[in-house]
C-alpha cells in the first residue's frame, strides 16, 4: 500500500526532504530542546499498572509513533499528556520546561491538540459550533464558518460547517475531531488511532496533511497498532508493551515483522492471503434495491445490485455514511419495507423476512455496534448467546436451557480466545476487542452459510483481528460466503476475492482483487465507475 501513496502523492518526497528527514531529528535535534518529553511516567489503576516508568521524547516537527497492542497503555499515556488524568509519578517537560497539566485546558493552552479515537462531540450542535466549543473563549473567531471552510479546504476534510454532527457518519465525525484539533493551531497534535475509520483516499489525504503540519514545525504523536502506516508515516516509534517502554526505534529501518515482534513480544504469522477463485452457486443476491433515506440520514440506497456466491468473500469499501448502514440493515432483516424480490437468499425471495427467518435460512450478521446492538450490555454472555440462537435450540418444552447457554458461552470464550472472567460476565465488562471476538464467535457457531459483517476488526488488536480474518477465510473454505463492509482498505484487499465500493447510496460493480488498484478505488469512492469495465 505504501507504493500507492508514493505514486499518488508525487510531492511527498520533496516535502520530506525540506523537513530534513528523520536523521536530523535523531542527531542534531537530540542536542536541541524537545517539544515534549516524558520521564518515568507511572500510572496505577486498581488492578492494573497502566503505565510503568514510560519515557518518550518528541522533537519539533517530528512525527512520533506510539505503537502497542490494545491494553498496552497507549491511551493512558495520551490522557496524561492531554491533562485528562494525572500520573502517579513522573515528569512532563514542554519545550524543556517542566509543566503540570491539571486539565485538558492546560494542555490546550500550551498548544497540545488531540484527536480522540472515541468521539467527544455534541451531536445536537453543528460542526462549526463543535469546533468553537473546543476553542478558548478569546479565540472563538477561529471557529467561524469562513475560517473553518478554509481549513476544511486546505486539509480536504469534506465537511459542511453548518451540518449537524448527529447526522454525520462515523467517518465524518472523525474528521470533525481532526478539524477541531487543527482549529486550535497546535504545536503538538496527538492522534489516537485516527485511521481506523478513514477511507483509503481520506487516509492518504490525512497523511499528507500530517506531513505538511510536521514540515510547518508541528510535532505529531501518532498512536496506532497499524505497522504499515507507522512505517509509512513516522520518523520514530516508541513501542509500549504491558505499560512499559520496550524500545524507541526508527520504524523505516525495521521490517514489519520485527516491529510486530517488538509490539507483541513474540513472533507472529502474517495472514496468508488466499488465492482468489471462481465462486459457486449464488447464496445472496440483491437486485435493484432502493430504499429512501430514513429520517435524520442523508443517504438512502439507490439501485444496489450484487451477487454473493458460495466460497467467496465480497468486500464493500467506501467512506462510512454512504449507505452502508442501511445496506447492512436491509441484509440483516432489521430494515423493514424492503421489496420482497429485491433480496434473494439461497435462491428464495427474502425481502419480507425478518432477522429470525433469515437466520433460519443460514444468514448471520455482525453489526458495527457491538455493544447495545450486537449484544445487550447488562446481560451476561450466556444470555447474549441466546440473542441469536434459534428458539428450537434455546428451549426445551418451552423452558430456556440455561446450562446449555452457559456451556455455549464458555465454548465461544474458549474457541475464540475471548478474555472474560466467566460465561456469565456482562457484555459491558468486556473490552471492545474481546466483545467483538465474542460476537464473531457467536455468529460463526451458528454455522452460517452467508455472513454479513460490518467493520469486523475495527478497534480490535492485531492478534484478535488476525483470528477474526482467519475465521472469515475458514468460512469461505467451507463453502460459505461473506460480505464484509469495511472502511479498512488493507483489510478488504487482504481477505476479499472481489471488492465493490459504496458511494452516495449506490454500489459499484465488484471487481476481482488482483485487478484493483488505488486509482480505481479512489475514483470509485467518488462515485465514478460508469466508465470502468467491471
Amino acid at each position: 500500500m505504501n507504493l500507492f501513496f508514493a505514486r499518488r502523492d508525487g510531492g511527498e518526497g520533496c516535502r520530506r526532504a525540506f523537513y530534513n528527514g528523520p536523521s536530523f531529528s535523531h542527531h542534531a535535534e537530540a542536542m536541541a530542546v524537545h517539544r515534549l518529553e516524558l520521564r518515568g511516567i507511572t500510572k496505577q489503576y486498581p488492578g492494573v499498572l497502566a503505565n510503568d516508568d514510560v519515557s518518550l521524547a518528541v522533537a519539533p516537527g517530528e512525527i512520533h509513533a506510539v505503537l502497542g497492542e490494545n491494553g498496552a497503555g497507549k491511551s493512558t499515556l495520551v490522557k496524561i499528556v492531554y491533562g485528562v488524568i494525572a500520573p502517579d509519578a513522573g515528569e512532563i517537560l514542554w519545550n524543556g520546561r517542566p509543566v503540570r497539566l491539571r486539565a485538558p485546558d492546560d494542555a490546550r493552552a500550551l498548544g497540545i491538540g488531540m484527536v480522540f479515537q472515541h468521539f467527544q462531540l455534541f451531536e445536537t450542535l453543528t460542526v462549526a459550533q463543535n469546533v468553537s466549543l473546543g476553542l478558548p473563549a478569546g479565540r472563538a473567531s477561529r471557529g467561524d464558518e469562513a475560517s473553518l471552510a478554509s481549513l476544511i479546504e486546505r486539509y480536504r476534510l469534506d465537511l459542511r460547517p453548518d451540518a449537524y454532527v448527529g447526522d454525520l457518519s462515523i467517518g465524518e465525525r472523525q474528521r470533525v475531531e481532526l478539524l477541531r484539533a487543527l482549529a486550535t493551531r497546535p504545536q503538538l497534535l496527538i492522534l489516537d488511532e485516527p485511521t481506523s475509520v478513514l477511507s483509503f483516499a481520506a487516509r492518504a489525504a490525512l497523511f499528507s496533511t500530517l506531513r505538511q503540519l510536521a514540515s510547518e514545525g508541528c510535532s505529531i504523536v501518532y498512536i496506532s497498532h497499524k505497522l504499515a502506516e507507522i512505517r509509512d508515516l513516522c520518523d520514530r516509534c516508541t513501542v509500549l508493551r504491558a505499560g512499559r517502554t520496550v524500545a524507541t526505534v526508527d520504524p523505516r529501518s525495521m521490517s514489519q515483522e520485527a516491529l510486530a515482534t517488538l509490539m507483541l513480544g513474540s513472533a507472529v504469522n502474517e495472514i496468508r492471503v488466499p488465492a482468489s477463485r471462481a465462486g459457486g452457486e449464488p447464496l445472496l443476491g440483491v437486485r435493484g434495491l432502493s430504499i429512501c433515506a430514513p429520517p435524520g440520514q442523508r443517504v438512502g440506497l439507490r439501485d444496489v445490485s450484487f451477487e454473493l456466491r458460495a466460497g467467496e468473500i465480497l468486500g464493500v469499501a467506501g467512506m462510512s455514511g454512504n449507505g452502508q448502514g442501511l445496506l447492512f440493515s436491509a441484509l440483516s432483516g432489521e430494515e423493514t419495507g424492503v421489496p420482497h424480490d429485491a433480496i434473494h437468499l439461497m435462491g428464495r425471495p427474502a425481502g419480507n423476512l425478518g432477522p429470525v427467518e433469515r437466520r433460519a435460512l443460514g444468514l448471520r450478521a455482525i453489526p458495527e455496534e457491538r455493544l447495545g446492538r450486537g449484544s445487550v450490555p447488562d446481560m451476561g454472555l450466556d444470555e447474549n448467546v441466546l440473542l441469536t440462537l434459534p428458539a428450537a435450540q434455546a428451549t426445551r418444552r418451552g423452558w430456556l436451557r440455561r446450562r446449555h447457554l452457559v456451556a455455549a458461552a464458555a465454548r465461544i470464550i474458549d474457541r475464540y480466545g475471548v478474555k472474560a472472567v466467566s460465561p456469565r460476565t456482562p457484555a459491558r465488562n468486556l473490552s471492545g476487542g474481546n466483545l467483538q471476538k465474542f460476537v464473531v464467535g457467536r455468529e460463526l457457531e451458528g454455522a452460517p452459510r452467508v455472513l454479513v459483517a460490518a467493520q469486523p476488526t475495527w478497534g480490535v488488536d492485531v492478534g484478535a483481528a488476525m483470528r477474526i480474518r482467519e475465521a472469515l477465510i475458514g468460512l469461505r473454505h467451507a463453502g460459505g460466503a461473506a460480505l464484509i463492509i469495511s472502511e479498512d482498505i488493507d483489510e478488504l484487499l487482504a481477505i476479499c476475492d472481489r471488492v465493490a465500493v459504496m458511494a452516495g447510496g449506490s454500489l459499484s460493480p465488484a471487481m476481482a482483487r488482483d485487478r484493483l488498484n488505488a486509482e480505481i478505488l479512489s475514483r470509485w469512492m467518488e462515485g465514478r465507475w460508469d466508465h470502468d469495465p467491471a
Partner: protein, 361 residues
C-alpha cells in the same frame, strides 16, 4: 461546585443496598417529622415498624394490603423491564374491579360456589381491556404511554363513580355510593379464621412466582427484557417491539385487574366509589424498591403495606393527618432515586475555578 461523575462499574451490592438504605432513611425522616409535630418519635415509628407485624390479625391485614400492591408491582416490573412506562396500574385496577363487579352482581343465592373464578377472570379481562387502550394508542399513533395510562386512570374513576352513584347503586343502601353486597358465590374465600386475609394473597404469590419464571426461564420473557434493555439489540435479534409492548401491557393489565377485583370480592364484598387508596401508584414505588424483580417487588409490597397500616394507626391513635402515608411514600421514592443516582455516579467536589475548565475535549 458539585459534579456527578459516572462510576466505571456500578456495584451489584450497592444496587440492592440502596432500597434498604432508602427505607432506613425514610424511617429516620419520619422520626424527625414526629419530633417536629410534638410526638415521641419512637411512639410514632412503632406504628410503622412494630404494630403492622404484631399478632395474627395484623399479619392478616398485611396480607390484605400487600396482595393488590404485589400484583400491581409485579405487573409494573414487567412493563418497566420492557421499557414500557405504564404508570396507570391504578386505572387498570379500577377497571378490573368494575368488570369483575359487573359479573359478581349477576350471581344469585343459588349460584355454584366456583363462580368466583369467573369473577376473577372478568376482573383480569377488565384490567387488560383498560391497558389495551394505552397499548393501542401507543402502537397505532405513538402516543406517550406514561401520559395516556395516567389520564385513563381518571377516566375509569369517573366511570366507576357513575356506576355506583347510578345504575349499580344499592337500592337499600341509604343512598351510599355503593353496590349491593355480593352473593357468597362471588366472594373470595378467607384464608384464616379471625383475619381478613383472603385467597387474593395466594393469587398474588402465584403471580410473583409466575412472573419470576416468565422473566428468567422463558424465551418470551427474555425477549421482553432485551426489548427493554437494548432496543437496537432487540431489532437485531429480530424481536418485535410491538410484541413487547402488548405483552407487557396486557400482563400488567391482567394483574392489576386481578388486584382490583380481589379488593372488591375480598375485603370490601361490594363495589364502592373508592376501590383503592392508591395501590396502583404505590406499586410504582414498590416495583422500583424491589429492583424490578418479582421477588423484590413482593418484599417491597409488604413494606408498602406496613406503611399503609402504620399511616392508618397514626391517624386513629395519634390524630395525624391522612397525608402521613403519602409523606412516607414520597420520602421513600425520593431517597431511593437519590440512592440509585449515587450507585451509578460519584459526587465530586470541585474548586469553582476547576469546574470552569471542565473537560469537554
Amino acid at each position: 461546585m458539585i459534579q456527578l461523575e459516572p462510576r466505571v462499574s456500578a456495584s451489584r451490592w450497592a444496587a440492592w443496598l440502596s432500597p434498604l438504605a432508602a427505607l432506613a432513611l425514610t424511617m429516620a425522616g419520619g422520626a424527625a417529622l414526629f419530633a417536629l409535630l410534638g410526638v415521641d418519635p419512637w411512639q410514632g415509628l412503632r406504628l410503622f415498624l412494630v404494630e403492622p407485624f404484631n399478632g395474627l390479625y395484623a399479619w392478616g391485614e398485611l396480607a390484605v394490603k400487600s396482595a393488590p400492591l404485589a400484583l400491581c408491582a409485579v405487573g409494573l416490573s414487567i412493563c418497566f423491564r420492557a421499557n414500557v412506562w405504564n404508570i396507570g396500574a391504578e386505572g387498570q385496577l379500577v377497571a378490573g374491579a368494575v368488570a369483575g363487579a359487573g359479573v359478581a352482581l349477576l350471581a344469585g343465592p343459588e349460584t355454584w360456589r366456583g363462580y368466583v373464578c369467573l369473577v376473577m377472570v372478568a376482573g383480569m379481562l377488565g384490567g387488560m381491556a383498560w391497558a389495551a387502550v394505552t397499548a393501542w394508542l401507543k402502537d397505532r399513533y405513538g402516543a406517550n404511554e406514561m401520559l395516556v395510562s395516567l389520564m385513563l386512570t381518571y377516566v375509569i374513576q369517573l366511570l366507576l363513580g357513575y356506576l355506583v352513584f347510578g345504575p349499580w347503586r344499592d337500592p337499600y343502601g341509604f343512598n351510599f355510593p355503593q353496590s349491593r353486597s355480593f352473593e357468597e358465590a362471588a366472594l373470595l374465600p378467607a384464608l384464616w379464621e379471625g383475619t381478613r386475609a383472603h385467597a387474593g394473597w395466594l393469587l398474588a404469590l402465584l403471580a410473583v412466582v409466575g412472573a419470576w419464571l416468565f422473566l428468567s426461564r422463558f424465551h418470551a420473557g427474555f425477549r421482553l427484557r432485551v426489548a427493554g434493555a437494548a432496543p437496537a439489540a432487540a431489532r437485531y435479534a429480530g424481536y418485535s417491539s410491538r410484541q413487547a409492548l402488548w405483552a407487557s401491557m396486557l400482563t400488567c393489565g391482567a394483574l392489576a385487574g386481578l388486584a382490583g377485583i380481589g379488593e372488591v370480592a375480598g375485603p370490601m364484598q361490594r363495589l364502592t366509589s373508592s376501590v383503592s387508596p392508591g395501590y396502583g401508584f404505590a406499586a410504582v414505588i414498590a416495583a422500583f424498591l424491589g429492583r424490578l424483580h418479582p421477588a423484590g417487588a413482593f418484599a417491597a409490597s409488604i413494606v408498602m403495606a406496613a406503611l399503609y397500616i402504620g399511616g392508618e394507626l397514626a391517624q386513629s391513635r395519634l390524630g395525624m393527618p391522612a397525608s402521613i402515608v403519602g409523606i412516607f411514600q414520597g420520602l421513600a421514592l425520593a431517597l431511593l432515586l437519590l440512592g440509585d443516582t449515587l450507585v451509578r455516579y460519584r459526587i465530586r467536589l470541585r474548586h469553582p475555578f476547576g469546574a470552569a475548565r471542565g473537560w469537554h475535549g
